[in-house]
Amino acid sequence: MAQPLVKKDDDRDDEADYSPFLGIEKGAVLQEARVFNDPQLDARRCSQVITKLLYLLNQGDSFTKVEATEVFFAVTKLFQSRDNGLRRMVYLIIKDLSPSADEVIIVTSSLMKDMNSRTDMYRANAIRVLCRITDGTLLTQIERYLKQAIVDKNPVVASAALVSGIHLLQTTPEIVKRWSNEVQEAVQSRAALVQFHALALLHQKGLGLFDPDQQNILLNLQIRQNDRLAVSKLVTSLTKGTVRSPLAQCLLIRYTSQVIRETGVNSQTGDRPFYDYLESCLRHKAEMVIFEAAKAITELSNVTTRELTPAITVLQLFLSSSKPVLRFAAVRTLNKVAMTHPMAVTNCNIDMESLISDQNRSIATLAITTLLKTGNESSVDRLMKQITNFMSDIADEFKIVVVEAIRSLCLKFPLKYRSLMNFLSNILREEGGFEYKKAIVDSIVILIRDIPDAKEGGLLHLCEFIEDCEFTYLSTQVSFYLSRIPSYLVALCFSQILHFIGNEGPKTSDPSKYIRYIYNRVILENATVRASAVSTLAKFGALVDSLKPRIFILLRRCLFDNDDEVRDRATLYLNSLGDGSVAETDKDVKEFLFGSLDIPLTNIETTLRNYEQNPTEEPFDIYSVPREVKSLPLVEKKAPGKKPTALGGLPPAPTSASDAYERLLSSIPEFANFGKIFKSSVPVELTEAETEYAVNVVKHIFDQHVVFQYNCTNTIPEQLLENVTVIVDASEAEEFSEVGVKPLKSLPYDTPAQTFVAFEKAEGVPAVGKFSNTLRFTVKEVDTSTGEAEDDGVEDEYQLEDFEVVAADYILKVGVSNFRNAWESMDPDTERIDEYGLGPRESLVEAVNAVISLLGMQPCEGSEMVPSNSRSHTCLLSGVYIGNVKVLVRLSFGMDATKEVAMKLAVRSDDVNVSEAIHEIVASG
């Protein structure tokens, strides 16, 4: 392919769809890229290949690491060419390839050479490329050139360096802050863009990224904010004709509003510093500056009408501009103003009304919602008429905005409920998606609730709505509404409406007229809605005695429903409502029907889950559900080495700690579905005593997960820690993968609290591994006299000790009272016996304890006690292995004259595999 980019043919009618990249294929392009290696470079050809590569990258084709590296190296060869156009493309593709650090080194020297080239274009671009791909270390080498570049005579070069500086500020602020003098010089540049970029860089510095002692104008401006004169002078120096580009002017406006926010209003004169400057910008010749200033003024906190007026005036002019962007900008801003200062916007109402018919529907919507906010009672009807025509051709998300505006308008002018309610019910029947319909229904519900007069009409609207929906459904018209919305959402919506009708309907003057609508639901709808309808009927029956006989007839019919839930509900209500006679309904029944559940649903869920997992004969007791809303603080009492003593055979009763763990973990939604804790380890200290932060970890083992509970204590009164997490490096625990982190929001002094990290592992597998931990947090200084923390915090880290998840973590210490009986009763076929050499040991005691702690089992009958100087010993252990498998172990130790210890290990368990697993633990331990 000598000419890959074919020029357009004149008769392109025949090939209207022809693309020069038609059928482009990555492999082929990569092949073509070999021309980069030719000793005689064809600049034109190379440019074309680069363009193809750029096309692929831009289309989102991903290059493998190898491909990218290969291309990158080939591209670096092109620095040999002196062709300007080709060099420009080389710069472009290097940026797009985003090379790795070791690749960057390859081009660094070429780019540095270009940075010092006489060609301005080379200098400017080399700076941009190098700053984009480099990391901090390299930056110090080129810093000198960058500082030079900032004050370069050529504005393009200076801008390139400044723009790069803005980017570098995010990654290596400490370097950029050393450029202050050069940047300040650039602020005075005669080149508009240089000034803009310099200002943008200063701007960033003013945000506190810089040390206060760093000299720069705008920071001074902040420090001396009380000295109005000095401040005005500084702003004046920047604003009086010396700021050349509109972009820079916009920046200055943003910065000024920031300063205004921080200074506040002068309490004596009521004047706002710098307001005059903002106001003067309203007369700037560039529209973007005018708008920026107007927007800034409207966003001033506690802005007065007097301050607002000039801004509103220019925005009003924009409303009738021929440019849609200006109209949009103005109406969007006025819309926001209308929320807080509706009166200030009323002057624009006439212009605003003409925007209802704007071609741009976003503008029209904003105009309408603004009018709805500012309109008075007399204009409502006219407005509603205009909106009706408009609703049909805007997108749903705009319609929702309108509906919400109408809702608040109606609450503002309750007398107008009739026309507004009619409007809502009309649009409810028109096409629209679920969210939109939901917004309408919600609005109607709110209006019924808050405007007593609207109740009767509103309820009928809702009834008719569910009736109409049914009609469309039955007549199987391909209705937009029903075809787009999942049926379960419709059911949900209907159920909510029915629930609402059930609560409100019986209190109306003629409740009987709703019954038909409700019963129709029982006949026509799916089970979810039918069940809701049954409940609604029951509510009518309970409250309206005269309707009771009719309700009973209807409920009895529901007993033949083919859905369990519907039948159950009907039975329940028939029983609780009494015998169908026209008698006062019991207070308890009303309570039952209408009373709300005062127990948090999440608590019920957790309790039910636990109930399901622990099969029992007892019925579920709703009163066992805790009623308090869960909050975490559980002060972890350090269990001081509670190694069981010689009292063998004592099964460790579920301690209060394990119960507490269970409760704590099940209250965390992320971990709630992990099931029941198999074992919680004793806390393992991860810090030395007397350090700034005391952290220990409790390992909770679940069937498929492990959760590490880090108990943290902050021992420094002057500090408040926030967003405390533990960063866990599990690279030495390959069988685990991290699935969740529960950070600790705040850790005040001396108040222990927990953060959690969860890992997933294979089900029932006793995976082991080593975890390295780093405590990460934001630290804030606390004023100990007031106890108040500063607003700004610093991120910090604190290295913690490593810990391991070991096999013993998967074995519960569960003792048996009579080891011999237990041993005999187990199937001898599951027994596995092997002998191990434990090497030279100090004493038998040491050897015995080592094996016990390795297995993490319960020693029985005091057998862990080794008589002093004995040369042999037998130790009996018992426990429960993960998966609830009972294990018994008989250890026989012997020591020879050279202190070499040998051990015979016999295991019996409910599962042969577990017997073998125990041997594996010992063999690998």
């Binding site: 750029l54 723009v163 863009l193 960033q204 509109p246």
Partner: protein
Amino acid sequence: MEFGPFVKSILILDLEGKRVASKFYSDDWPTNEERRTFEKNVFSMTHMKNARTEAEVTIFKDEIVVYKFIEDLHFYVTGGEEENEVLLATVLEAVLGAIFIVLKKKVNKMEALTHLDLVLLCLDETIDGGIIVDTDAKSIARKATGVSLDPGAEELTIGEALKSARGQVMKALSGFI
């Protein structure tokens, strides 16, 4: 950039909403799928509109979208909800103007792809990582091409340029009919 004007993306799409050349400067769309979805959403929301004489604007999920169509190309500049839309429109006009110059007044998909290198260079000279580098179409075009330009193209103001482009559309259309 907390304060500085920030452009989140520039999209150039064809009549079917397919990407001709797009640049994304924000982390909002880290993967190509998310970028395609964003393009698709923006396109389906705007493609029926008439944005040929003046730049149009809309707001889509807290994203200001300023757009303009020339022949079979749809140009979009997007920014955050708090961004100055007039400023974004200026960026859009700058990109359009520069591309108009480098493509020698023939702004259409075919030309844009044939001279994709120049189009990409124009984008590169207008925005660097979301930061506005230049908003002067002529200067952008000059930097992108690095050679002296067709004086005819440089003399035209953008308004005239677009008028001429519109003329070409009409011509092209009449050719099809």
